[in-house]
Subunit: 192 residues, 2 copies
DNA sequence: CCTACCGATCGGTAGG
DNA sequence: CCTACCGATCGGTAGG
């Protein structure tokens, strides 16, 4: 891992834990055993660092969408599993993607919004496909997509990979509940 | 509304929009047509303001729990409706309750965590009651509660009271999807 | 990558 | 509630 990647990883950790504004360039430098000013040999600005972390997270989420195959139920299960896996494996970056992006200013802010929109569009298509195939029974595709994204996104707030719940267990349970919410039968019976 | 309440309301707006650390005491003073130092005639510290906003939001959410009556399905519907109503009516405070509380430091931080835990416990009891009554079919009450809270909490990120979706429509649709996710039949048929 | 520094701004206080 | 100020810290730069 080159110096630049190291810096981005540490920045992701600090931004996600303390927040972007509460993390100073000197905090970041200290965590890298550097002097404050030395960072600017590697980066252009603090804000550029934030954007780069957002880009990395967006890339991971986008890869999940690109790997989906099969019928709508299979796609939804893989989407849930993949989304939760990215959160588990890339918790700092995912957290920044979900939150700290708001602190970017206009030139960068637009890009972050576009990256998030692109992902949400991809999720919407999965829902839409299921509705068109008659597999999902929902009144409003947009609202069902927001519901799905809500359930998935908030997990970064409480899920910890080293906690009592394995990623497999979480994915299985969430996929089951979400499929039922979407009115799909797909092998789910709702019994314990 | 006395001066103190005005200050808290404006602080809630600014903290929720820009974030706690990105909001300076002088920003807040300017929004109130005051000089920076004058604020300290009314408040003890910036952090105390943040805690107070968190307390106000917690109070609103807690009132929702206390107003629940009837069978488990009725309680869950009222919980969904009430939770979303607080978000719609108190968006800035709710946003601070969901996020900015993390920037409190230990003496205050513990109180904020306790307030959040208390609410989540109340939500868990609603789920538990439904499971014990045999109305909800879920494998893991804790996980189902987190799922429910996830779907509800994230709405503050996208729902806007002046948007295309009325609070009634949102509540109805969310309650329906959540009841299905929890394996309840309760008058829901899943058809459009 | 370091030293030494820039102007700006931070939360907060004294004294009125 | 204002004026004037405190020390500390901010993001960033020059020169090496």
């Amino acid at each position: 891992m080159d110096r630049r990647s190291q810096i981005l990883t540490v920045a992701g950790h600090l931004f996600s834990q303390r927040g972007y504004h509460a993390t100073s360039i000197r905090d970041l430098a200290r965590a890298l055993n550097l002097q404050g000013g030395s960072l600017y040999a590697h980066i252009a600005s603090k804000e550029e660092l934030l954007l780069e972390v957002v880009r990395q997270a967006a890339q991971k989420f986008q890869e999940v969408l690109e790997g989906l195959t099969g019928d709508p139920v299979a796609k939804l299960k893989a989407l849930v599993r993949g989304h939760l896996r990215v959160i588990a494996e890339e918790l700092p970056r995912a957290t920044v993607f979900f939150h700290e992006w708001k602190h970017l200013s206009p030139p960068y802010l637009e890009e972050a919004k576009a990256l998030r929109r692109r992902y949400e569009e991809g999720v919407r298509k999965v829902v839409e496909e299921g509705v068109e195939a008659g597999v999902f029974q929902v009144e409003d595709v947009r609202l069902a997509t927001l519901f799905l994204l809500s359930a998935l996104n908030w997990t970064y707030q409480w899920y910890r990979p080293d906690g009592p719940l394995s990623l497999e267990e979480l994915s299985e349970a969430y996929a089951g509940m979400l499929l039922r919410a979407l009115g799909a039968e797909g092998g789910q019976d709702g019994e314990a």
